[in-house]
Amino acid sequence: MIQAEHLTKRYRSRLVVDDVSFVCRPGRVTGFLGPNGAGKSTTMRMLCALTTPNSGRSLVLQHPFRELRNPGRHVGVLLDASAQHGGRTGREILALSACLMSLPAARVQRVVDVVGLTAREADARTRTYSLGMRQRLGLAHALLGEPQVLILDEPVNGLDPAGIRWMRGLLRSFADAGGTVLLSSHLLHEVEAIADDLIIIGGGRILAQGSAAELTSTSGGLEELFFDLTAQHGRGQHGRGQYGREQFGREQFGREEVAS
């Protein structure tokens, strides 16, 4: 269970996240959708106590993240697959975290197998990794502590179609076993295929949330809904065209940019 209550984050005068509230329930995959700069990453960092909100609060498993002892055993986090020390091997990164979480060393090989990294890949320095390999390593890391909650920012970014399909199955089985999944994405169809619940965010505000079935049953499906919402509610100073289809298409593989 993840609860966000009136989360608000301001960088100088810019409101990046504006009064965001939602709940992610166990047994369900919650998709977090929004264009670049909508505030997805900032919100997810606030859930993990990496960014302090100006107001509002969030709970993971009914506790503020900061108060979790050994949080890696409860919450698997993947916020940026590229944020790893390039001089360490994938296996060493996992081993360090396993050690920190007091996990048996065998757990490392287990998650390496689960995400399908070969022994050779796991023993290579992450500097040499492709984005897809980084995502697999990041997911292995998120699963390491056998968490009940997963918080994943753009986890399918850089995965090939087979990888995306595999990820879908993995998250599905995680949720079916009672886990809570929050994943953000630019890829509408991917989210549509995985998510039970949807949160659509634009310009820092929640534009719509509800079950995926409910939201996609509106005329024209999720895609129409998404563009309607983000065009109407886009940040005023950028005008209506900011979140137009063409713009979105070009930017969808870019890294989400949030002032820091």
Partner: protein, 261 residues
Amino acid sequence: MNTLTLPGSVPTLRTPGGITFTRLCGVELRKQVDTRAGLWLLIVIALVNTALIVLTLTTVPPSELTWANLTSTASLAQFVLLPLIGVMAATSEWSQRTGLTTFALEPRRTRVNLAKLVSAGLLGLLVMLLTVIVGAVLNVVGIVFRGGDGSWAMDWSMLAGAALALLLLVAQGVAFGLAFLSTPIAIVAYLALPIVWTTLTMFISGLAGPATWLDMNVTMLSLMMGEMSVLGWAQLTTSVAVWVGVPLAVGLWRTARRDVA
């Protein structure tokens, strides 16, 4: 594909043990030596010390080949280079962005930073211990091959002073790393600022007085000679407060609040 071992359906909080400070220090110590940069710094320290040892063993008069002398010869490089491992321990979380992982596993950032400080100090002590052992081996080499004096009298106050000086320098490295959060800037600041300050005190006569209290290069001299007086301790403490305490306080304050991104 393997199936996942998943927890039960009720998402209540299990209670696995917390992360002890000892465990945190152990992991931080490993992180200091498991990267290419960290490993190479240690290798370079060993190489430079080896070169100095060879020079000493071959050129110094046999009467000066003692355990104490050889130990101090074999320990020079770590005073210059080991603090850089401290710098990198502090900066890499931010420059390599590993903080996204580290602080998601232990959100108490000050606790992580203190673990970095303790583990970097521990690494310093391990290196000193190793140097003393190498010094002993070299003393035997000196006796056997050069008919050296071979005295086993160790100046323990000097050795303890050197160990403490190394700890202070490593702490200064961590402190500068935390204050600047960028590896190149922190390293340049760590290396250049004390030199600039020492140079200024040599040219500006009015600064000579304050320098005896505020220049670690000066206050650590008598510490490393093992000749500390009450005044010396007061002067050392003052300079350490300025050069280690202030950047450490700034760094801890800064890293506790900053967005990890």
